[in-house]
Symmetry: C2
Subunit: 551 residues, 2 copies
């Protein structure tokens, strides 16, 4: 951890400041969309998407014990008061209504509110907002929007505390996590979630089955629909925005996993498989799915239909167990939508590169383009301690091909619980994957960030380069290691090559010589003649290709 | 750096031991191919490709001042004595001769020697072995072999020492670098290279232009063919195995870069552009290319035709300057091959994902399938300090599509000179990319490594999992952080989930219940009947899904 990282997660990002954009014309006065704004030394501003919440706004005093201001409370209350039966964003969208939440994400994504409404109405995007989580800043998940990243937090029986988990959440959103999932399984599961929810500026997801299993004394066979339902209701009341439900693990699919190299690797999937096995009955999440829809509908909780049979190694990718479950998830997503419940679909896992595209193509086809939400996938199994990278490769590719949200993987995957550094490494890696996919998809405006940073790099505006970086702290500290002196921050060379070998310096000379924009439209002869003239002029000026260090 | 990483780079990798395979039947007795062998707790052995040289063999005493044993000296001497005019591996291959070097790589790659010879003869693969670098262990670069990784080392005017560079080389090869490039540009450039060469078990590449520029006092316009030629000869005598030559930066291409966002970012490219600009003459590397071929031929040095006009940012990817140069590289590769000089082609750079495939497809077409050797490419510009990851994504993809060798990028790219930790991070990231590509290409045997590790993971053989990891030290240390006690290394649960929630444990129960191999060939009715019986048996046994910790 660098000295910058060690500083609190509740201060502005160095080199950036918080700003707020107004809502679309005619929108509410209390609709203010937060952005991270980087002021450049050439006078320009670059505006970036901001997930960090009030913590990076020095004007807002935050207090973990009080929680964040409930920015959506009025919006929700007014809707409840006007007597409209709709509660879910999907229901409003289908009725042609643009909610303040839709306006909010329209500004964030630089899209028209009507486009947002259409994507939600079609089920191609979800906007997860439990009516009991008014603290969250609305965000949207869909393939026609920016690719999103989820960070898992949560203690286990083995280690960690409530404070640590709240701090991990704040830390994860500071670096760009668009949602967090609280996957706690140990003691204090309810209290941990309460603290996370009251302090989270992003939607919070859970897997209610974990808490239900705690209540069942850790015995899968003692789980029941009633126990599970009560758990879901309690979490819904707290404000959980989306829930992973392993309703696709059907009794008849369980034997399909017996021939696998690594069987069932999803915790939820294996718990339900154990239950099916013990009772020889169909998965109660499947048989009670319509009832579950009614509960989620009442709070506007989004389904995240879990892939309990996802492959746990390269050898098991794209097998019959996995795709059989996916077909069932398609069936369930249609039921959920019929109940006006927003729905996304979870995906693998461990998949070699050449088998990735089939996953997203099949999911989009079977689930009527419901947003795909994938874990990685890991593209090889040989690198424990680096699975943020093995999976970051797969994540970038699957997002390019249509995945809407990526669940991060940290360096501790398969080895231990992520600490603060691991959370940051996972989020940063996944933000890279998501942004690389935004570029590859040609998302409008995505390349402006790259262009601003490349301009700063070419013009030796080191401070601008650091401030524009996805992680300004580490970029700055790495540069400090080689050239710590302050003047080096304005030096016209890079520390890699030293002053004589700097290609960017030489290149700038070329550009100045030929002028920029380039001799477009000239014939080859004209270019040659111009070059000869320039060459003589260059020689007369002393053939200087290296600008003096002082300029 | 963990305590394991801090240990010397000249000890065996923990959990592995060095072994040697004999050559093919009828081969020389002095042909011994080193491998890294992991002995598993279930009695099996896994044999892995090994680039670490004698440093990881406790039987060999190494001494930096003496250099490594010259394992190929006899082979070279015997060839020189037999009067055959051929010197390059390409020349031998074309004449139908299988050299000991080809036999060596055949064993390493688990391929037939004749297949190796054919690939080299066709120019689809290169085997870089300067006759004056007898210390190197032969390796092959071609799309039909394992994807290779190069690590750049080298001091600059700003920092670092000879000892540091030799240590970086040893460290890089320990973690899997297949070649190293010495890109030194500062003082002691000749001496640094000598030490690196005498101690390197892998081929060493250079960019002779850097040393030539030093001799020209850092003034590009004072470079000349004669000065360059003498530099190449001196480096050839030392034993450099492959040389990057920026002969494709033609006078008429230079203006094409003036309209770019970041101009020319290759050091070699910018130096040659400056020379062309100063003299208004064609690039002397291009006009003297045939002479250069004759020199490289005499030592069996492999060309790495440099992409001096590669894009330096997302905005400049796949532009006319880049592809104009690539066409010239195609022309030059044909000239080189006509001189029986082995040749590979360098590639970008910074390229968004959707433009990567065009690069390799075009290169393969224009250069008659000569091996492609790419830097990254970086798939976004927004993450300085994480460019090993932004580029690892692009590297995995371009390798899947046909790149033969990947030049690593470290976390310090654009910011500073890589230290020991950065070198390791770069190498490990690129080994992941290379292996992910081997899997995606269906390279024979590649998946065995993943399968062995996944088996160990599923069977809770933690020590085997660590020992099989690409980086056993870090995998082990991460696990230690959460569960440091020795018994935890044999515990039947993962530290992420704790004992009750371990999906692998539940899954093993499923597997034991249904038996493995699975009920393949049974009808649905038979499976259902079997499941019911098993379910009852399971209930009778107490519905135990969690194995006791002591078993």
């Amino acid at each position: 951890m660098t000295k910058h990282e060690a500083s609190t997660s509740r201060t502005p990002v160095i080199g950036s400041h918080k700003a707020y954009l107004p809502g679309p014309t005619g929108s509410r006065a209390d609709l203010r969309v937060p952005v991270r704004r980087v002021h450049l030394s050439d006078g320009k501003d670059v505006t970036l998407y901001d997930t960090s919440g009030p913590y990076t706004d020095p004007e807002v005093e935050t207090d973990v014990r009080r929680g964040l201001p409930p920015l959506r409370r009025e919006w929700i209350a007014e809707r409840a008061a006007d007597g409209t039966p709709a509660v879910t964003q999907l229901a409003y969208a289908r009725r042609g209504l643009i909610t303040p939440e839709m306006e909010f994400v329209a500004v964030r994504e630089n899209r028209a509110p009507e486009f947002v409404r259409e994507e939600i109405a079609a089920g191609r995007a979800v906007l997860p907002v439990n009516v009991n989580h008014p603290e969250s800043e609305p965000m949207i998940i869909g393939k026609n929007f920016l690719v999103k990243v989820n960070a898992n937090i949560g203690n286990s029986a083995v280690s960690s505390s409530i404070d640590e988990e709240v701090e991990k959440m704040t830390w994860a959103t500071r670096w760009g996590a668009d949602t967090v999932m609280d996957l706690s399984t140990g003691r204090d599961i309810h209290a941990t979630r309460e603290w996370v929810l009251r302090n989270s500026p992003v939607p919070v997801g859970t897997v209610p089955l974990y808490e239900a299993l705690e209540k069942a004394g850790g015995k899968a066979e003692e789980l029941s629909w009633e126990l599970y339902r009560d758990t879901v209701v309690a979490q819904a009341e707290q404000g959980v925005d989306y829930m992973t439900v392993h309703a696709g693990v059907l009794l008849r699919y369980v034997p399909l996993t017996a021939r696998r190299k690594t069987g069932i690797v999803s915790r939820g999937g294996s718990i339900m498989a154990a239950w099916c096995l013990a009772h020889h009955e169909e998965n109660f999440l499947y048989t009670h799915f319509a009832e579950l829809c009614e509960i989620l509908r009442a709070y506007d909780i989004t389904f995240s239909l879990g892939d309990g049979l996802r492959p746990g190694c390269i050898a098991d990718a794209n097998d019959e167990a996995q795709f059989a479950e996916l077909r069932t998830l398609g069936e369930l997503s249609r039921i959920a939508r019929a109940h006006e419940v927003q729905t996304m679909i979870e995906g693998p896992g461990h998949v070699p590169m050449h088998k990735i595209k089939e996953n997203v193509d099949l999911q989009q086809e079977l689930c009527d383009e419901a947003p795909f939400y994938t874990l990685g996938p890991l593209t090889t199994d040989i690198a424990p301690a680096y699975d943020h990278i093995t999976s970051g490769i797969g994540a970038a590719m699957i997002a390019w091909w249509g995945t809407a949200m990526l669940c991060y993987v940290t360096p501790k995957e398969h080895l231990g619980l992520p600490d603060r550094d691991d959370v940051k490494a996972g989020v940063i890696t996944y933000k890279i994957a998501a942004h690389a996919a935004d570029l590859a998809k040609g998302h409008p405006g995505a390349q402006q960030w790259d262009d601003a940073l490349s301009d700063a790099r070419f013009e030796f505006r080191w401070e601008d380069q650091f401030n524009l970086a996805l992680d300004p702290d580490t970029a700055r500290s790495y540069h400090d290691e080689t050239l710590p002196a302050a003047p080096a921050k304005t030096a016209h060379f890079c520390s890699m090559c030293g002053p004589k070998f700097c290609s960017m310096k030489i290149s700038r000379t070329v550009m100045e010589t030929y002028g920029s924009p380039s001799p477009e439209g000239l014939t080859q002869e004209e270019i040659q003649a111009g070059m000869l003239a320039k060459s003589r002029e260059f020689a007369r000026a002393g053939n200087r290709v290296y600008l003096p260090l002082t300029d």
